[in-house]
Symmetry: C2
Subunit: 263 residues, 2 copies
C-alpha cells in the first residue's frame, strides 16, 4: 500500500510542538512493508485542509492518515475541512455522540472533570463527514474517523500522541498486517572513509542489486562517521539479497581501510 | 513573509530518522514574525522533487527552504530535481567546485579522510541549477544553494543538522531579521477543568480579540492538563493585547475553579 500522512496544527508550524507522531507511524508503516510516500504539515485552516486533502486524493494513495484538530474548540476544524475536501456534508453521528457522552460521564464520575453533560463544544466532536465510521478513543474523548473515498481509506486521528497511538494500534496496525508486504532494513556504521570515497563502489553495488536501496548517510559533518543502510520493499528473496549485499558492502569498507563500528 | 519547508529523504519516510530540522527552523521563522505555512516531506525521487517544487511555487510563498539530498551519492538528487522543477539546466559552478575541493583538501590534510582530489562524486555536488549562488558549508562539504524564481527566494540546505543550522544562521537568519515581523507567544498550563469546559469562554475571548490566536491543547488524554497559548503575527499593539487577553484567560480559569500550573 502507498500511504500519505497529513498533520494538522498551527503549533507545529510555529515550532512550539515537534511532530513525533509522523515518525512513530512511519516506522510502523515501513515495518509491515508499506510505503509512506509523503508527510504534509499544514495549519488549522479550513481551506488549507480541504484543498490539501483534494491534492492528496489526486495522487491516489491507498491510505491517508491525518492527525490533529479533532478537539472541542472552534479552531479544531479537521472534520469540517476534510468533509469540504471530499464534498460531503457533516452530520451528527449517534455512535460518536454516545461515546463522547460516555467519556465525559466517566471523567466526571472519576472526578477528573467537573462539567457534566453534552455542551455545544462536546457535541461538535460528534459531527462527522457523511459516511464516517467513528473510531473509539479509549484514552481521550474525541473519536477518530474511518472513511473511504473510492479505493482510498482515510483515517482521521487525534493529535495527542497517546490517543493517536492507541487508535493506530487498534485500527490501523491490523490493516497494515492484513495487507502485509515485506520490508527489510539492515546496515552498519563505518568510520575512516568518507561518503564520497565509498560512493562509486556503492553505485556499482546498487547496479548489481537493482531491487535494493543502498544508501549512505553522513552522521557528522565531513563524513567522519557514515551510516550505510540497505532496505527493500516486497522483494522476492529479499532477505538473501540484502545479506549478500551487506557482506559485499562490508568488504568494500575493509578494502578501503575503513572501520566498521556496529554490525 | 510566507515560508514553506520541503524536507527530502527516504530515511524520514521509513521512520529511520526523526526530522528535527523542520522544528528547529520553524521556531526561528516564527520568532522573527514570519509565517511557516507548510512542511512537506518526500523521498529521494527526481520526479517527486520536481513536481513538488512546482506545486510549492504555485502557492506563491516568499521563501522556500529545502533540506536533504545534497551529498555525493547517486541517490542525492535534490539539485537535479529542483533544477527540473524550475525548468533550468544544472551546470558546474566554479565557486562551489573550489569550496568542495578546499573542504576535501582540509579534511585529508587533517587526516579525517584519506582519498585526495576531486572524484566524479565530489564534483557532482558542484553541479547547481542555473542562476545558483552557492552557500559555503563551514561544517561539511556539500555547499548549499540560494536561488530566486520571480520574487520567491529558494534556499537549498544540507540535511545533516549541524550543517543545516550553520548555513541557516549565516544566511537565512539575517534575512528573517531584515524583513522582521512581530510574533508574540504567551501562555500557561492549567489543570482541573477540561478543554471543552473552557471552550465557550475562549471562543468569546477570541471574538473580543479577533487579531489574536488563542488556542488550547490538551497535554494528556481526557484533558486533565491543558495548555493555553496566545499568539499573534504582526499586530499593532500586540504586546498590550496579548497581555490583556492573557489576564482575562487566567480569570476565566480561576472562575471555573481551575488551577494554573505555570505562569
Amino acid at each position: 500500500m502507498n500511504v500519505e500522512i497529513l498533520t494538522i496544527g498551527n503549533e507545529i508550524l510555529i515550532g512550539k510542538t515537534q511532530d513525533t507522531n509522523s515518525n512513530w507511524m512511519a516506522k510502523r508503516i515501513a515495518k509491515y512493508g508499506h510505503r509512506l510516500k509523503r508527510i504534509t504539515t499544514i495549519g488549522d485552516d479550513l481551506n488549507e485542509i480541504s484543498s490539501t486533502i483534494k491534492n492528496i486524493l489526486a495522487r491516489n494513495p491507498d491510505m491517508i492518515i491525518t492527525t490533529g484538530g479533532l478537539g472541542p474548540t472552534f479552531d479544531d476544524m479537521t472534520l469540517e475541512g476534510i468533509a469540504k475536501g471530499l464534498e460531503r456534508e457533516i452530520e451528527l453521528n449517534q455512535h460518536a455522540f454516545n461515546s463522547i457522552k460516555k467519556a465525559y460521564e466517566n471523567a466526571t464520575r472519576r472526578g477528573i472533570l467537573k462539567l457534566e453533560g453534552m455542551t455545544k463544544e462536546r457535541k461538535k466532536m460528534a459531527y462527522l463527514p457523511q459516511g464516517s465510521t467513528p473510531l473509539p478513543n479509549t484514552v481521550g474523548t474525541a473519536p477518530g474517523v474511518k472513511l473511504t473515498e473510492g479505493h482510498i481509506t482515510i483515517f482521521i486521528l487525534p493529535g495527542v500522541p497517546a490517543e493517536m497511538k492507541s487508535m493506530f494500534r487498534n485500527v490501523i496496525t491490523p490493516l497494515l498486517k492484513e495487507r502485509k508486504g515485506k520490508f527489510i532494513e539492515k546496515g552498519f556504521i563505518f568510520t575512516g572513509i568518507g561518503e564520497s570515497q565509498i560512493a562509486p563502489y556503492i553505485t556499482k553495488l546498487e547496479h548489481e542489486y537493482p531491487k535494493l536501496w543502498i544508501k549512505t548517510h553522513p552522521r557528522i559533518g565531513l563524513s567522519v562517521e557514515v551510516e550505510l543502510s540497505i532496505t527493500c520493499f516486497n522483494v522476492d528473496n529479499g532477505e538473501k539479497l540484502v545479506e549478500e549485499a551487506l557482506t559485499k558492502a562490508k568488504d568494500i569498507v575493509h578494502n578501503l581501510n575503513g572501520k566498521i563500528k556496529t554490525k
